[in-house]
């Protein structure tokens, strides 16, 4: 009881009360002196003093910061405005650096460097894009010119040669007539080469779309278009259940047309042949193949097989311009797939292509 009374009478309690009131008024200045008692109350006072000091420091820092913000409001607004421009891809302004070399300047230097890098990067992408657009336009103009200007003299050569045949047949001997037919035949072939070249160059620019393809139905469709009664009679078509795939229907159809018509063409000198069409799944890829037991080719020249206008057989032996497999390769590459072939001369060839799942 006595102790309790002593505590109540202790002046230090009044001091603590006063200090707490000051705290509620956001005044953290001053501290309460400790007594020699070093008792519980002193411990409380010490705690209170530390709290007051911390609060004071924090408040001073906050004041300093808000003062800094207040003093530099214009600079901060300016940075915000410029940042907004950056988000709109407008890099015409840089954040000004002051002589103060303070925190804001450090941030400004960092942002300026970043925006410069970003601007350079965007410029590079834009330049590359512009170059692509120019190259594409040039290619289009080139194809157009090839298509129109190369054909015109060809029409004239062929046309006049035909007139000679029509109007002067009686005055020409057999050799001369043969030669004129050779001229006409060659103009026709050049016409085909021009058509193939144009088809190939168009491929590179065509947008590749993707949809689910029922390969079984597609191959059936292609086969019906290509196979005549005569071919049907001497060819045994083995077509397994083909797996469906994702791809551009028109382009993949072209791949099948080229591969199957090749298989038919290079088997034409054999009295009876087997053409096998199949598919399997390997490492997340659909693999499709067309195998024939036709003329085959020498694997020594494999690197020329898929080249534009490259041929491994003479035109007399097997007609063609050498564009078919180049088109196959281009289409499959544009689908991120691969093509390859295996062959043994006079025994047949197998052509494979993959489509990613």
């Amino acid at each position: 009881m006595e102790t309790h009374n002593n505590i109540i009478k202790d002046k230090r309690l009044n001091l603590i009360q006063e200090q707490l009131i000051k705290f509620t008024q956001q005044d953290f200045s001053g501290s309460i002196p400790l007594s020699k008692n070093a008792d519980e109350i002193d411990a409380i006072i010490a705690g209170l003093n530390t709290l007051g000091e911390e609060m004071n420091t924090t408040r001073l820092e906050l004041e300093k910061k808000s003062l800094f913000i207040k003093d530099n409001q214009e600079r901060i607004n300016n940075i915000q405005e410029i940042l907004l421009k950056y988000t709109l891809m407008d890099f015409s302004c840089q954040i000004p650096i002051t002589e103060k070399a303070d925190e804001l300047d450090a941030i400004a230097v960092g942002l300026n460097t970043l925006s410069e890098e970003l601007e350079n990067h965007i410029k590079q992408v834009e330049n590359a894009n512009n170059e692509l657009v120019t190259v594409n336009k040039e290619l289009e103009a080139f194809s157009y010119s090839v298509s129109h200007d190369l054909r015109a003299p060809l029409r004239a050569i062929s046309g006049y040669a035909k007139i000679i045949l029509e109007d002067y047949q009686g005055k020409l001997d057999e050799d001369a007539i043969k030669l004129i037919h050779a001229i006409i035949r060659n103009t026709k072939r050049m016409g085909e080469l021009i058509d193939d070249l144009l088809a190939f160059s168009r491929l590179g620019r065509k947008q590749v779309t993707s949809s689910e393809i029922n390969m079984m139905a597609l191959v059936k469709l292609v086969k019906e278009d290509l196979v005549t009664n005569d071919i049907e009679n001497r060819t045994n078509f083995n077509c397994d259940n083909l797996l469906p795939a994702q791809g551009d229907f028109t382009l993949i159809k072209q791949v099948w047309v080229n591969l199957i018509s090749n298989a038919i063409k290079y088997s034409q000198h054999k009295p009876s042949t087997i053409i096998e069409i199949g598919s399997y799944l390997k490492e997340n890829q659909m693999v499709y193949y067309v195998k024939d037991n036709g003329a085959g080719f020498d694997m020594q020249y494999y690197d020329k097989l898929f080249g534009v206008f490259q041929r491994l057989h003479s035109n007399e032996e097997f007609e063609g311009t050498g564009i078919g497999l180049a088109i196959v390769q281009k289409i499959i590459h544009r689908h991120n797939g691969t093509v390859w072939a295996e062959s043994k001369l006079k025994e047949g060839s197998s052509f494979y292509f993959t489509l990613p799942i």
């Binding site: 298509s147 129109h148 015109a152 004239a156 062929s158 046309g159 007139i163 144009l198 088809a199």
Partner: protein, 146 residues
């Protein structure tokens, strides 16, 4: 030259193409009065009775225009566009001559209102096929040649 009797206006800048086309048509019995101009500007002058053709009566219009697309001065496209957007002339059937059936020009011509197209070289087969499709039975074949 009596321009008013012209039934087919033929615009073609290549003299070889023009000679071969005219020969093929005449040789196979086309008996209509065909008039050849060498560029799109002359074709428009003819149609609109201007320049060299200022004295031509504007009461008579060609019954058919055969139009090459790639011509100097005024292209076939421009002739096509002008004629097909003119209420006085838009009913004249226009057949364009193109280098390839894959030509992107064909799509543009169809958009401009072309009536038909023929892939060069123009021979009687593809010419009369186009004419037949247009229902132009008045095109006369000179039967005596056959």
């Amino acid at each position: 030259m009596n321009y008013d009797a012209v039934e087919i206006l033929f615009a073609e800048d290549s003299m070889d193409d023009a000679a071969l086309t005219i020969r093929a048509l005449k040789k196979n019995g086309l008996a209509n009065n065909l008039y050849h101009v060498k560029d799109g500007a002359a074709a428009l002058d003819f149609i609109y009775c201007k320049g060299e053709y200022a004295t031509r009566s504007n009461k008579e219009t060609p019954k058919l225009i055969l139009l090459d697309l790639k011509m100097p001065k005024v292209s076939g496209f421009e002739v096509l566009e002008k004629v097909k957007s003119d209420p006085n002339f838009k009913l004249i059937p226009i057949v364009v001559l193109t280098s390839s059936k894959e030509d992107p020009d064909i799509k543009r011509c169809l958009e401009l209102g072309v009536n038909s197209y023929i892939v060069k070289p123009v021979d009687t087969d593809n010419f009369f096929q186009a004419i037949k499709e247009l229902g132009m039975y008045w095109i006369i074949l000179n039967q005596t040649i056959h």
